[in-house]
Amino acid sequence: MRKCLYILIIVFSLMGCQDVIEVDLDTEPPRLTVDALIRIDTSESITKARIKVGLSSSFFEANQAVQVNQMIIQNLDYVPSGPLDQNFIILNETQLGIYEGSRNTAFFTSGELNLTIDYNGEFFLAKTRFAPSVPFNNIIQGDATLFSGDETELIVSFTDNVNRDDFYIFDFDFNEYLVSEDKFYQGQEFEFSYFYDNLKVGQTVTISILGADESFYKYMDQLIVQSGNSQGPFQVPVATVRGNLINVTGIDNTAVVDNVQSSNNFALGYFAVVQEFKQQIMIE
């Protein structure tokens, strides 16, 4: 439904005019940001987890990559496959701000996964579970347009899994995302159109359908809203999108059981492990 709102908004943003202006912004000290979306191709036996860390910046400056003291993914439910296997991975810095580690795909696809980051003595913890997805039935190019007449239509279809409540995140390339839940098409073959603004003939587009749990779905929905280009005259309510990283420094579950007293001490970003199906299409 949110998509419809955008369309209404687009109609009206065309009426008004937009220009870029100078604005003085307040800033706050940089925060740790974590981009820990691990996309899994379950047909591969080994999966490489790649996590990006950085420091937030004021809106008009660029984020800086940062070094952390330690980064571990642990799966307490995982039964090691042999004496050389363990139930955790220590991720190594491969370049500033990039941490990587590889393991059997099975390590990621069942059980509760804990990501722990030690950043200058502050400990951050995030928990997640593997979220499955479904493959595309097909992706074809259509000839419909929306507003300008120049859009490129891609018609995407997939069959929802009837046995579970699914949440999907579509990665349409070019940092364009869309979220969807199966509330209104449980178990159905579902087809919808996506419109691109500036595609050229001969260009190849890679489209992914990712699984998500409900909270990651909501998180991505919020990110899309907050980063959106099509907000138009209705100002979308702003929010600080908090991910699933908890600052656990000092929480001992006896004297300190929550973060209510240290409300400003948090990291941004999300840790999610999701199944991905990918397909490419060449624009004609």
């Binding site: 065309l14 009426m15 604005v23 008009f60 419909a144 929802d160 159905q188 100002q235 702003v238 209510v260």
Partner: protein, 799 residues
């Protein structure tokens, strides 16, 4: 049971006071306009020797009881010729007055229009009246005379800017305004997302805006009442008037069905299809239309009936794949009955609904939502004597809410039909309201409204652990939707929640001298319906939701104090008021709440509170060739949602931070300074010039305090809510009306209106958005402004 007790005590009261009026006689009747038999609201029937008088009600009726004697009587309504008459009152009698429009009588037009004249003696305060004549003079965007845009020029009234729906009164929210069209509740007052209002000014007789001191006969919204009366129709002769404008054309036809007895009125208005055609290709449409109808039949001296209807729709379409339709429909039957010459009654039976429909073919579904209500009202006005009037009545409203229904739009669609749980509620109210002149200097108004709201059963109801639909995460410090532990079917006959409220209303006026008075008022109001909206101004897609097990009714306390002065015999008037109000249980949304198609809205709502206070000044020049007003408002409007009281779970006390860490924050409609100037100058018989100037503090907004990246997305993030502001809003509008001189000799009378909106082309920001430019990869702040300078021409005619 409570209702009956209240009613019987009310009837007792009326009999108790009744016994005073003995050797007195009652003069009553109706005041109408001579040429059309249209009843006139707010006409003064004054007895200068006695220093007393009465004002006609919404149906043009008056009644006054005086001791036997010979009196001079003056019937006055500015813009009309006064009637001065001597009467000998030695028996109760009925006199109807027919007033003649001043302009038609005189060769030389002397402008003395002052229909909005302030009554300094009545205890009623915080009220503004605008005549349709004034509304039509106010320059507006694209020349389309507009009721809502006109009231924005009054003190204490603002909105979120161009292209924003609704209006905000005294720091209140848009959903806190009760908008009544011939007593029917209108849920959405805007066409085209707020560019125009849904009321066709040609079909409107009178509007009244109560910002405080709201009489007990009104209830259900905590901020204001906008009471709009449609014309009844001309029962003397057939008349047509209309207009051709840049956006829409209008046509009104009225005439007698049976002379002096029955009349009809039909008014239609339609914008041109493809209104914004140049912007799109030919497949797209965007237009609106509305239709007002009214029938009245005067059965005899004691009985009149009225039928009125309104139907309006907005339609947007983008080829066949996207069609959006929404609007109000209202039907209304009323019966005026005079029990005695002192007791006037009106029974209304009203149906009204708001419909929102959407067809999205490229996703494969149709969507519709809406609200329906059936409303029965029985109101009595009892003119006991010249010092005491009592109004009392009952009102029952049954509501049906459809939060949304989705269905497949074509055979191939994978969408499964689904109806979000419909909600039902019943609101009952009984009230009594006294208006009493205690001494020559002191008048009192006091009343009580009892309201009872029952949230009726529905097909599915979520059950939550600890009855708590919103969880607080003590580590992330955010509120999150709780998962229901069960879903029950209470059945439509069940009673899910009951709320009873007593709403006292008190006001007083103390007349310091002939020309000045002080007034004070206290108002308590309960509001049981909430519009779910977390954008800066409501969108047509927003749905209403009733109070119930998880959402409490909003409760308002408002205090106001004012000083009122007529200068130079009413040629000028000055009024100033201070007010303070607070609203309990103002709903607030958790961060990231999704309100659309949400079947469990309780999971994203917390009950907070709101408060507003301010000072309003209104200086008017009411007479002469140059008329107008200057309004200034200084105010503050805030809300907060502290953490709920800690509860103990597993031996731990669960503390919450609240929304915005529990601190007060500016509401999106907090505008500390608000200046409006309206000036109207009658240059000569041919030309008149009108102008507005508006200045407002920019509305609160949020600028990011930082940004981060996730999967290639640039995400701005924010600090405490509504700390920053958009740049100040200001503009000047100008219009000139040309009335050709040859009009006099012609049957068809025409006038041209030339208008310029936003004369100095100020680019007022409707919003500032922060985003990464996709082409350059650079982050930027983007200002959206809706209208620059907009010239327009409108032609109006009547015959």
């Amino acid at each position: 049971m409570k209702q009956t007790i209240l009613l019987s005590s009310l009837i007792f009261l009326f009999f108790a006071t009744h016994s005073f009026a003995q050797q007195k006689y009652t003069l009553s009747g109706t005041v109408t306009e001579e040429s059309s038999n249209e009843t006139l609201i707010g006409v003064t029937v004054a007895f200068p020797e006695l220093g007393t008088g009465v004002i006609t009600n919404e149906y043009g009726f008056y009644s006054i009881t005086l001791p036997e004697g010979e009196y001079k009587l003056r019937v006055g309504y500015l813009g009309f010729e006064d009637i001065v008459k001597s009467i000998k009152l030695n028996a109760s009698s009925k006199i109807d007055f027919k007033l003649i429009e001043a302009a038609e009588q005189l060769e030389e037009i002397v402008v003395t229009q002052n229909i909005e004249k302030m009554d300094i003696r009545k205890p009623q305060m915080s009220v503004n009246t605008l005549s349709v004549e004034t509304i039509k003079k106010i320059p507006v965007i694209l020349g389309e005379a507009d009721i809502i845009k006109s009231i924005l020029l009054l003190p204490g009234v603002t909105n979120a800017g161009e292209g924003a729906s609704g209006f905000n009164v005294r720091g209140g929210a848009v959903d806190q305004n009760l908008i009544l069209l011939d007593e029917a509740i209108i849920f959405n007052s805007s066409h085209l997302f707020g560019f125009f209002s849904v009321f066709n000014p040609d079909a409107i007789k009178d509007i009244k805006l109560y910002k405080g001191g709201i009489p007990a006969r009104y209830g259900g919204r905590v901020s204001s009442v906008l009471d709009i009366f449609q014309k009844e129709g001309n029962s003397k002769e057939f008349k047509v008037n209309g207009g051709i404008g840049a956006v829409a054309s209008r046509l009104l036809v009225e005439g007698p069905i049976k002379e002096d007895k029955a009349a009809f009125l039909i008014a239609g208005r339609g914008s041109y299809a493809h209104l914004f055609l140049p912007l799109f290709d030919l497949d797209n449409t965007a237009y609106f239309y509305d239709l007002n109808t009214k029938l009245n039949y005067k059965i005899n001296d004691k009985n009149s009936i009225f039928l009125s209807g309104y139907f309006g729709r907005d339609v947007f379409g983008i080829s066949e794949s996207f069609v959006n339709t929404y609007g109000n429909a209202v039907g209304n039957f009323r019966w005026n009955h005079l029990f005695t010459d002192k007791l006037f009654s009106n029974l209304s039976v009203i149906y009204s609904d708001y419909y929102y429909g959407l067809k999205l073919d490229f996703v494969g579904f149709n969507w519709n939502s809406g609200i329906k209500n059936f409303n029965v009202k029985y109101d009595f006005k009892h003119y006991l004597n010249d010092k005491l009037q009592v109004n009392y009545g009952i009102n029952n409203i049954y509501y049906q809410f459809n939060p949304g229904k989705i269905e497949p739009s074509n055979d191939e669609s994978g969408i499964i039909e689904d109806q979000l749980t419909q909600k039902f509620a019943n609101e009952f109210a009984a009230y009594v309201d006294f208006e009493q002149r205690v001494t020559d200097n002191l008048s009192l108004g006091y009343g009580l409204r009892f309201s009872n709201f029952i949230r009726l059963g529905q097909d599915e109801l979520n059950v939550y652990e600890n009855n708590n639909p919103v969880n607080f995460d003590p580590f992330l410090l955010i509120y999150q939707e709780a998962d229901p532990i069960d879903v029950v079917n209470p059945g439509r006959g069940a009673n899910l929640a009951t709320f009873n409220n007593l709403e006292p209303r008190v006001s007083l006026a103390y007349t310091i001298n002939e020309n000045s008075s002080v007034k004070a008022s206290y108002t308590r109001l309960a509001q049981y319906l909430h519009l779910l909206s977390n954008t800066n101004s409501p969108t047509p897609l927003d749905v209403w939701t009733p109070s119930g097990p998880f959402i409490k009714p909003q409760l308002l306390d408002q205090y106001a104090l004012g000083y009122f002065k007529n200068i130079d015999g009413g040629a000028y008037s000055f009024e100033t008021e201070v007010f303070y109000k607070d609203v309990e249980n103002r709903i607030d949304y958790i961060d990231g709440a999704n309100l659309i198609a949400n079947d469990a809205i309780e999971q994203v709502i917390l009950n907070g509170e709101a408060r507003a206070y301010g000072l309003e000044i209104l200086f008017r020049k009411n007479e002469g060739k140059f008329q107008g007003w200057l309004a200034y408002t200084l105010s503050k409007s805030e809300q907060r949602t502290p953490g709920r009281p800690p509860f103990v779970d597993n031996g731990r006390s669960n503390l919450e931070t609240g929304i915005n860490f529990g601190e007060w924050y500016n509401t999106p409609y907090d505008k500390p300074h608000d200046i409006s100037l309206f000036a109207s100058f009658e240059l000569n018989k041919k030309w008149s010039i009108n102008s507005n100037f508006v200045y407002q503090t920019g509305q609160p907004t949020n600028f990011p305090i930082g940004q981060f990246e996730f999967q290639g997305l640039t995400v701005p993030y924010y600090g405490l809510r509504n700390k920053q502001r958009l740049p100040d809003y200001h503009r000047i509008d100008l219009s000139a009306t040309l009335t050709p001189e040859r009009n006099k000799t012609r049957k068809v009378q025409g006038e041209w209106i030339f208008s310029i909106y936003n004369l100095y082309n100020r680019r007022n920001a409707a919003s500032i958005n922060f985003r990464r430019n996709q082409d350059t990869g650079v982050n930027e702040a983007v200002r959206t402004s809706i209208f620059g300078i907009v010239p327009a021409v409108t032609y109006n005619f009547k015959f």
